[in-house]
Symmetry: D2
Subunit: 422 residues, 4 copies
């Protein structure tokens, strides 16, 4: 699967080590003679190339961060800047401010010149020094601006919608005849990007979620019939919920988008919760924000500024249903609701995520300097790759219900799978 | 101010060091010839006494924890048990379960025999191993139970209402002719107990609140016109809010129960917030749960199971008013609401609080073994004291608006005091 | 690559999901037409099997932890016990105490019966509840003991030497005709095990190492010409040093076993350090304990109780050489030495490591119950595998100098590779 | 006890609240008719004064940090700058670099102009942004420099020797007729300053020390006969050791400078340690660096650059003696030595210390602006005070062996006092 390039790479790389453009990563690593072979998708291996399309002395790069906060954004910005500056000798780097708004000179502030001094300590803070926002930009205006400012490379840090925006910018630039490299770094705290086994920020989010679960467990465990309900991120995928469940080992029920469940009746969630509370006098429930959407009636769909369908509020829905159920069953209890998402996503990256950010960012620079465009950096089977934007945005990753992650959830919670069914 | 005793202390103390019963702590430590002298209140200095009323070999003690969670409850339980066991040789210690309910044999579970093995590692966890609950117990039933179980000493860990309950139990026991020592350890995460300069759990709460404020600051600071509102504990007093403001230095507005404020108008809070946001493009507001109660109309008063008037929901009130105000003023912004109280109060005690818990608990044991009764351990001017229950529950501590704490809040936030007035 | 089994698996698995015995993981996932193909090594995919060799009702398992501490040991013990107990219904689980010593009834204590209650909270503490020790056991005595105690399965948590010990025990048991399943969980904080992309405890160690580096950086940065030298784990491989360098971004020189270096002369380390200090007035050096062994003369080799060659003390060696060099060069400086290894390896596992431990442990149980023996659980390309003991102990993993990890070190430190050579 | 002033305070304070110059804090707060009254020392209450000696528009202040690192240095610098700038309107603030060296234009770098922007985030980092050093400065040269730079106020953050240096500078300035206010903020992580119940950084140090003790305990507890020895700060006073012991509850022997002890013989420390290890199979020892100095022979005294007598190396001394003793007694054991001091003192201030720093700093500014000079800010009985430099440097604070702190150590460790004697 080749990546588009802007043209012949004529400049020698200043770096001592190079990856061949012919290296590919297999998509299927498990073989079984009894199982039909899936289609093999060979992705380019990321890394420094021997020759560059852009002459570093005359290259100008831009960086933009979009969407919700995620631990590690500043690490990515920092490593992009340092690799451009120290690795290749690029001296002109612009930080567009407040997401895609910042590409529009009528709506955004002036971009920030990014230097090693500016980024020196930013990785020690959460959030993003470039600010972020949701929502699109007028593509034509944005490309006018990029051309006017002579931007050769645009690094786009964001989720699905953001990467699609990058592709639209690239197409418009191509139509204008402007040789623009658009290279994405995938950002989703939910870890639900296809072709990326682990997105940056995810491990930190799990670590922080475990702290919240510890508190929820302590609250439930320090009273008679304590019930703690923790809502966590995860619109389409339950990776954070699953990871936090296994790491914590104190969760008794884990509800994720991939596994619809029955609420009422003897086999339903509420009855299972009752049995648990009567038996052990306390319970902790962890629910991903996108779980249980089938429990809501049709209608009332809402979209955020980025155009994503908003999850309906399963946290408060469950809260009300649980409280009503235990009242009807006349079981005295102490119920506590935890909604720690903003406390989780705004912390600095953990060491593991800091490392991941560094790898994503430096590989993005390598790809861009070689003149590749229209790609997002992927990460699979321990290897960083180049993934075409349209491919990576064409699917989403969800929990494999036969993976160690989901089996580990079932083992750790002891929740009976038979109790839940569509 | 003498403390009641159960009778002559005839048994020698096994401890090597003793505090005289005649030692008193001054209540006024600041003198000024121009200022009339306040009434001097001389409190007994706490500590081991030379002679004991109870013979350790034949003494049985009980411990009960009541009300909301607070970091350090397990530390207090542990040090009570270890001082009784190792310090005095008391071998019979009962942990009553689930607060005052546990004193009622018809409602509670069987008490837990407390040993050094049982408490070995409990201080490393938040919550309370004895469980807790709100609400009173039938005093007559409780005293029947204490007499039947031959409990000589009852250690009561809890707030105002709990300590008053301890006094009622004591009076009933006296009427029955049962020599019961009731010794309280003051518990309020709000730090609003008179005669106690710092209650256990308060420092930990401030430390955790600062973490939440850091997140709120990052959220506000990573978007254009970000506004973060953090609600924190503090029903009658703003000590946690003040401490967290000064420690964090990232709060722009601190609202506490002691300082009513105007919401509307040019001098009001909303206009001040607008000016801040227009000038700096982000703002962090910290509100104690008991602040702004004057903004609610009369009626609708609600009480918790302990009989405390519940604060009206200033967090969500402000949230709605701020969102409406900025909408009316047509100032785009990103608003985030943080409600971290349960995440704060359920963590283990910090080192500083662990030390405080140890001191409170061991002094409580010393007082009880000497036969003192009807007191709560106080802490003022770096000295632990004996305070009669009726004295300590007769008043509450609030922020002194001329103290370094409140002046530090004004200096750190820069909020203009003139903007707020009843 | 098939794994030995004890015989026909006749009992149905109680688990709902199974992995086929025919599934294999590719060892080579990168292809390049210009590069000759490496030998392909097909490892069994780990996971629950459809049929069991052991009847859970009549199975007795043993667990032993050996060698140095590593974050996550208690997590592994706990998940082994819970998977055996809840997953399969095995009720007899013995925890042998103090490593291989515990297999020798003449030297060790009585084994501990392991139950869900015993392991309930152990994962929240560092260290190992089963204790550990270095050094071998008399194989014949150990197998006598295992036979006498009717142990069917032995889980061995430890490094190279420990796993070789497991193989010896297995061979002896085979000779005696005792059907023993020996399944290893690889334990090395250094992350240097072949066929395992990440060992448990490694991520936690990096996280903790970064904290120590932060302190070292602060010390160096708060004085004029501050030099901080931090010695970290890594006998044969620099993974911790590399990870911590990239995560921290504050290290200026990273020295690892894989890259010998010249100390003296204009191209040497000392001169490079001098240039750095004169230019920036502070420097942080991170050295893996196994780095620079070529700088020591022959002789004086020492071995630990496990028979591993001890690294010579590169930390104090460099300390002396740096201090002497700067004295000779007459450059005033403040030198600080940090040796945090015991503070790093004794903490509880981070969330990420806790998850990894759970996966390793449950897969070990699945393998053992299916009657497989003489294997260690591996982890490559995001997949858990079965690796024959003799294969996994036949090689060691080291830093690939063309991997993102080492390139990231060079990029982050800016240390010039040309300065170092054998 | 009056503080010297530079002259009439003629300028009105811009602050809304003031403390009277006549307010005094009692030094004795405990009374007992049987105990003779100690001499009463009435210290001035700190706080903003109604009238200022310096006209803020024309005032220039300098700040210098000296000696070893301590958590909170940056907080103090920051609050000094913000109170001067926002509180009083002082616009000229110089940060002298690298301790007293920075006062000497021939040795130090140019001072840094300190602004609210410069100090914005410095409190989130450990160390000192102004750098520090040990050792004196030529007083005459320093005063020349202060006069030439028109510095009116010098804030001196440091320990004993540093404060004495401040006094010498003040005397020299007085002789030259330069109206200089010298105000000290006491800095000692050991918490051994008289007239200061708690110095900044101390609470953070205890918190970090507890983490190291946890690791030491885990190491000792995970092997048979594990012995962990932790050396901690405390040259003349055992406050950190005592606090960490009580907070941790995992220390079995605490050795402090205030309590000399016998090493050999049946009543000695080594025999007590042996009994503990034989009984419980593990032990943790915490030793303050200044403990056990009586065990060293005379001679070999060394002094640091500040002129302080260096403690002899009790950590390695005990290490050798313990290892030799257990070898002689033929008791196999695993011994670990921990020396975490540099990892402790370089972290950022905890919330509690951050608050303390803010109070110390703002009170220092109030004192200086009122024209007071030759004082250090004290803190006793919950009140900040003005203490003459010569008074505060004339004595040291040590552990009171009848205080809750030392009694808590004895209770928590169970170490028998009778075993130790001079």
């Amino acid at each position: 699967m080749n990546i588009n390039t802007l043209g012949e790479a004529r400049f020698p790389s200043p770096l001592p080590f190079h990856v061949s453009d012919k290296s590919r990563v297999l998509s299927n690593v498990i073989v079984n003679p009894d199982v039909p072979v899936s289609e093999e998708l060979l992705l380019e291996v990321a890394g420094p190339r021997e020759r560059l399309f852009f002459d570093p002395k005359h290259t100008r790069a831009g960086i933009v961060t979009c969407g919700g906060l995620c631990p590690g954004l500043n690490n990515v910005i920092r490593s992009l800047v340092l690799e451009l500056h120290h690795g290749y000798g690029v001296r002109e780097i612009l930080g567009f401010v407040s997401g895609y708004q910042g590409l529009d000179p009528w709506r955004g502030s002036e971009p920030i010149p990014l230097t090693p001094e500016f980024v020196e300590d930013i990785h020690k803070e959460g959030g993003t020094e470039l600010n972020t926002s949701r929502g699109p930009v007028d593509i034509s205006v944005a490309v006018d601006n990029l051309i006017r400012r002579k931007v050769d490379i645009l690094f786009v840090i964001g989720g699905d919608g953001t990467q699609r925006g990058g592709e639209a910018i690239l197409r418009e630039a191509q139509q204008r005849g402007h040789a623009l490299s658009v290279v994405g770094v995938p950002k989703t705290i939910d870890n639900d990007v296809a072709f990326v086994s682990r997105t940056f920020g995810y491990v930190t989010a799990v670590e922080e979620a475990v702290k919240a679960i510890n508190c929820a467990h302590t609250e439930a465990h320090s009273v008679h019939n304590g019930i703690s309900l923790v809502k966590i991120m995860g619109r389409h995928a339950g990776f954070i919920a699953a990871g936090a469940t296994i790491a914590s080992q104190d969760v008794n029920f884990t509800l994720v988008p991939e596994v619809p469940f029955v609420l009422e009746g003897e086999d339903g969630f509420l009855a299972a919760l009752k049995r648990r509370v009567l038996k052990r006098a306390h319970a902790v429930i962890l629910v991903a924000e996108g779980a249980g959407q089938h429990l809501f009636g049709p209608g009332d769909d809402q979209y955020d500024a980025s155009g994503n369908l908003k999850s309906k509020d399963i946290g408060n829905f469950l809260r009300e249903r649980i409280e009503a159920y235990f009242k009807a069953e006349d079981i005295p209890n102490t119920f506590r609701y935890f909604d720690p998402s903003y406390l989780i996503r705004s912390v600095p990256a953990s060491a593991e995520d800091a490392i991941l950010c560094d790898f994503f960012a430096r590989n993005a620079v390598h790809a861009a300097m070689a003149g590749k465009t229209g790609l997002v950096i992927g990460f699979q089977h321990d290897t960083f790759t180049h993934v075409p934007i349209e491919l990576i945005t064409s699917r989403k990753k969800q929990l494999d219900l036969n993976s160690p992650a989901w089996l580990g959830v079932l083992a750790s919670t002891g929740q009976k799978f038979a109790q839940f069914a569509v």
